[in-house]
Subunit: 159 residues, 2 copies
């Protein structure tokens, strides 16, 4: 393995380990518990679950992997703060979306070769990318893994 291949493996391994950690945690929490706030006056578990799905859905666009699969989650779980939208999907629906989504993302990630990960993501212009080659697809995985871990730390408080 080259150092570049090792780098891609390490970043993807961390993503998958984080997804697995979130998945185990979510499976250990009842629907009733996910309706609770992680701390008094803070976001509820259901909001964080919907938020993660919506943020991961946006990765498809950034990675040039197709259209959003859950565009209806943007307004209630990204644009709006928790408790603003009154018409949220059920936790059962969100759990199904979460499971479907991580399998779908894995399939799409598996289709990329090492060099593809160093191509620019869609939110950076070609001329900027020429000067800032770190604004690539692999960096989307790195930053979204950070984001995921941040919210896992919060969801963990529902245990």
């Amino acid at each position: 393995m080259t150092t570049t291949e090792i780098s891609v493996k390490m970043v993807l391994d961390r993503w998958y380990a984080s997804i697995a950690s979130a998945d185990t945690l979510l499976n250990s929490l009842t629907d009733e518990t996910l309706q609770k706030e992680i701390a008094p006056g803070k976001n509820r578990g259901i909001y964080l679950l919907g938020h993660l799905i919506a943020v991961h859905d946006d990765m498809l666009r950034l990675l040039d992997m197709g259209e959003k699969q859950y565009p209806q989650l943007f307004l209630p779980f990204i644009e709006n703060a928790d408790k603003v939208s009154t018409d949220l999907p059920s936790i059962a629906e969100l759990r199904a979306d979460w499971t479907m989504q991580y399998g779908d993302l894995k399939q799409k990630f598996d289709a990329l070769k090492t060099d593809n990960w160093f191509e620019r993501h869609t939110a950076v212009a070609a001329e900027d990318f020429a000067k800032e080659p770190h604004r690539n697809k692999l960096n989307i995985i790195i930053t979204r893994t950070s984001h995921l871990q941040y919210h896992i730390g919060q969801l963990r408080l529902l245990k």
Copy 2:
């Protein structure tokens, strides 16, 4: 820049951005607030601050960068759960350690060249590393960044 150099840059950038994010957050919280629990019955802010310093201190050993600087923090902030040790350092002391530490780590990280990051960390045996070259120093940064983000998500609840 080679794709390997870009990879190292992305991983270190994410580490430094996470440290900066934690630093800004810690500076926005008073000593009194850091004495509070992040959620009822959960860890206090002071525990998470000490825990982060102790975990980052252990990186020196893993990265073969010398002895621990804060060995006295291991027992109260890693070995023991919160509220077990009765004799904790003051928050002022921990804040000073935190600031000293991230500068010290940066200086040590800056001294490493790209190839050095792909050398084995000290917790893996040479024969295992030959088969698992991803168990390198850069991976320590990747996993510790995840750990840091997890706890930033929790500390954020004190705001």
